[in-house]
Amino acid sequence: MSVSNLLENWSQVRHEHPVNDKPHDPYKWAMAIDLDACTGCNACSVACYAENNLPVVGKEKFQHGQQMHWMRVERYWDEDGREFPDQGFQFLPMMCQQCEAAPCETVCPVAATNHTADGLNSQIYNRCIGSRYCSANCPFKVRYFNWYDYPTTENVWPAEMTQQLNPDVSVRGKGVMEKCTFCVQRLSAAKVTAKGEGRIVREGEVQTACQQACPTSAISFGNIVNPESRVHKQWAAQQVELDKDKQAKNEKEEGPGLRGYRILEELRAYPSVMYLERVRESAV
């Protein structure tokens, strides 16, 4: 039975191109992050902790590298000879890049991580057995493993904070992998509302937690299929295309003022997050 199923749906299994063959209709969620606007304030990271019930692991486990920040703000020091405190640095907010040809998906032995029709890289907690192969094969290392049973660990969510936990997001048990979902619970809710009204989700109707918290609006998020969306306009203005592994910015010799790029594009994972290069000199 499953063989006939496989043969009938062969086109869904076999792809000519990892991006173009996928049905991005009516949604393909994507993001753009302007590094020039990012101040490294970490509000996005905090918002993510609150929205997605991320466990706060504490100092000791943090030192062991076991923190669970789905959204992390990385800091890279300028290497221009200046010393601290004059030395400048740049920030890079990093979360799951929701790759179109995700390296993590193919290696999972139990198919716990999959691609959804609207272009998300989903993680099924109930299916995950914790082999951590996905994390091993992730070029960005944005997958976080539940090293402990956090819901029963003391001080992960102090008593007064349990009231703050988001009821729309499941709390993950020990031994499963988790990562940024592009706030899939918000996307689902918006889609349900829109469906009830017989339309698709409008631009601005749904925001991710990090986007909502960003004081400088460095993060924009939306449906890239919709030509009216801010994210579509940004990608188009930067001539960044989802299905290419090399963008206009890198192809042309004399820079035409383009800033858009995707991280480790040459690996052909086709990430859904575009970064806008920082042009301003870093000031401390």
Binding site: M1, S2, N5, K61, H64, G65, Q66, Q67, R72, E74, Y76, M94, P103, T106, V107, C108, P109, V110, A111, R127, C128, I129, G130, S131, R132, Y133, S135, A136, N137, P139, F140, K141, R143, Y144, F145, N146, W147, Y148, D149, K174, G175, V176, M177, L264, L267
Partner: protein, 454 residues
């Protein structure tokens, strides 16, 4: 120098081997005790980890695999030489394998079982491990057949089941001997059951030979495929330092290498503990030593191929990983691997040492240390110096829980192996008899030839 004395009586062979089932030297119990201790400690670590979570192993992001996967590859590798001795050399009619292949095949089986344990202790939700099995279910959910990890599970399971079958089938005539020579008791009942009513008739021997040969032929491609597939876990991934085309043959060579070194270690221990000096003779040991030396050189060559192909590939990231291995935090272990794996085996090239038991014992242990380090140096450095700069400062030192399980696995292996040798004949009686017979035939032939010349 002859592999075995031609004047050993067949009854003496039976007697000597049967004795090994009853009264080994005291050292046996000493080793058994330490093995039990190590296994107990490892078991304690696993219980603690199971209860508390994988975090106690001091794994982190990005170092998600640690020693478990490294030691898993090590044990899989160890299993390969058993097949080399028992199946490949069987097809090549190498008589010298006969006294030693039984324990080598047992080593194969038990090291595979040990490797299987590492898959178990490695996964985060051990209680759901059956999700990885392709069992029919009403929701039509299957494992992901694209994943090299799944190929791994299948390859190992196939290899393990065929190895057990091969070990058992090859033992049937010996089990019958044991059955006929044992006094009544649980042992005799066990042998009677397992001997499957063997009487040694012509028809039985004919069927036996065909079966044995068939399984041997089936096993040989498996031995090559299993470690190639384990290599695919790495080669199929996208990570620098893993994404190497030459990994499958490199892994197979490494596997044969560590397996042969382990055979030397166990040869020396068994020979002493079970008083097998008559059967596990020094000329046979010399042959394994030479074989190990050859494989060591193949491994060294493949290592050089890998380094050169990375170096000249202009793949900057892979090159960085290689430089990191040579000069970074892991450099003592990496150079230790080169020393133990490529320099130490040169001892085997010196004729004087080829039959020197203390030297061989120490050397074989060092070789396996080198091979274990090799596996660790494949797994760990890629995590601490991969594509993404954010991961570069994150080094990880395995906690006592991880080390405990690594030591515990040696205990578990030794425990299984020693129990096997005490319950089943670890020297193949009927094949040693064949060997003695072949030797007498050979002597007779050369005698006749000499007479004819005069």
């Amino acid at each position: 120098m002859k592999d075995i004395r031609e004047d050993i009586a067949w009854a003496k062979i039976n007697q000597d081997v049967m004795k090994s089932l009853e009264n080994p030297r005291k050292l046996y119990w000493v080793i058994l005790f330490f093995a039990l201790m190590a296994f107990g400690f490892g078991l304690g670590c696993e219980v603690y980890q199971y209860q508390t979570g994988m975090g106690v192993a001091n794994l982190n992001n990005p170092q998600v695999w640690g020693l478990y996967i490294a030691t898993f590859i090590f044990w899989i590798g160890m299993s390969h030489s058993g097949t080399l001795l028992s199946a490949i050399l069987h097809l090549m009619h190498a008589d010298w394998r006969k006294p030693i292949y039984r324990f080598a095949e047992a080593m194969t089986t038990f090291s595979l079982m040990t490797a299987g344990l590492f898959v178990m202790v490695h996964i985060g939700r051990l209680w759901q491990f059956y999700y990885a099995l392709p069992y029919p279910n009403d929701r039509g959910i299957w494992p992901n057949f694209q994943s090299p990890l799944l190929w791994d599970a299948m390859a190992i399971f196939t290899y393990l089941s065929s190895s057990v079958l091969f070990l058992f089938v090859g033992m049937i005539p010996d089990l019958a001997i044991a059955r006929d020579n044992m006094q009544a008791g649980w042992r005799q009942k066990l042998y009677t059951l397992l001997a499957l009513g063997w009487e040694g008739t012509d028809r039985q021997w004919r069927n036996f030979r065909v079966t044995y040969l068939t399984i041997a032929c089936f096993l040989i491609p498996l031995a090559v495929s299993v470690h190639s597939i384990v290599a695919s876990d790495f080669a199929m991934s996208q990570q620098p330092g893993w994404h190497v085309t030459s990994f499958p043959p490199y892994f197979v060579a490494g596997a044969l290498y560590s397996g042969c070194a382990a055979i030397i270690t166990l040869f020396i221990i068994l020979r002493y503990v079970f008083k097998f000096e008559e059967y596990m003779t020094l000329p046979i040991l010399k042959k394994i030593v030479r074989l190990t030396f050859a494989i060591a050189m193949v491994w060294t060559y493949l290592n050089a191929v890998e380094f050169a192909s990375v170096w000249y590939s202009h793949d900057q990231v892979s090159k960085d990983v290689l430089i990191q291995k040579m000069t970074g935090n892991y450099s003592p272990f990496w150079w230790g691997m080169i020393f133990c794996g490529s320099v130490v085996p040169l001892v085997f090239a010196i004729k004087r040492f080829q039959t020197n038991i203390p030297v061989l014992f120490a050397t074989s242990l060092l070789l396996n240390l080198g091979m274990w380090l090799e596996r660790w140096m494949i797994v760990a450095p890629t995590f601490s110096h991969g594509y993404y700069p954010w991961t570069w400062d994150h080094d990880q030192w395995p906690s006592i829980v991880q080390w405990g399980m690594v030591f515990g696995s040696f205990g578990w292996f030794t425990l299984l192996f020693l129990l096997f040798c005490k319950v089943f004949p670890s020297v193949s009686m009927y094949e040693v008899k064949e060997m003695v017979y072949h030797r007498t035939l050979h002597l007779k032939k050369s005698e006749t030839a000499e007479q004819g010349a005069h």
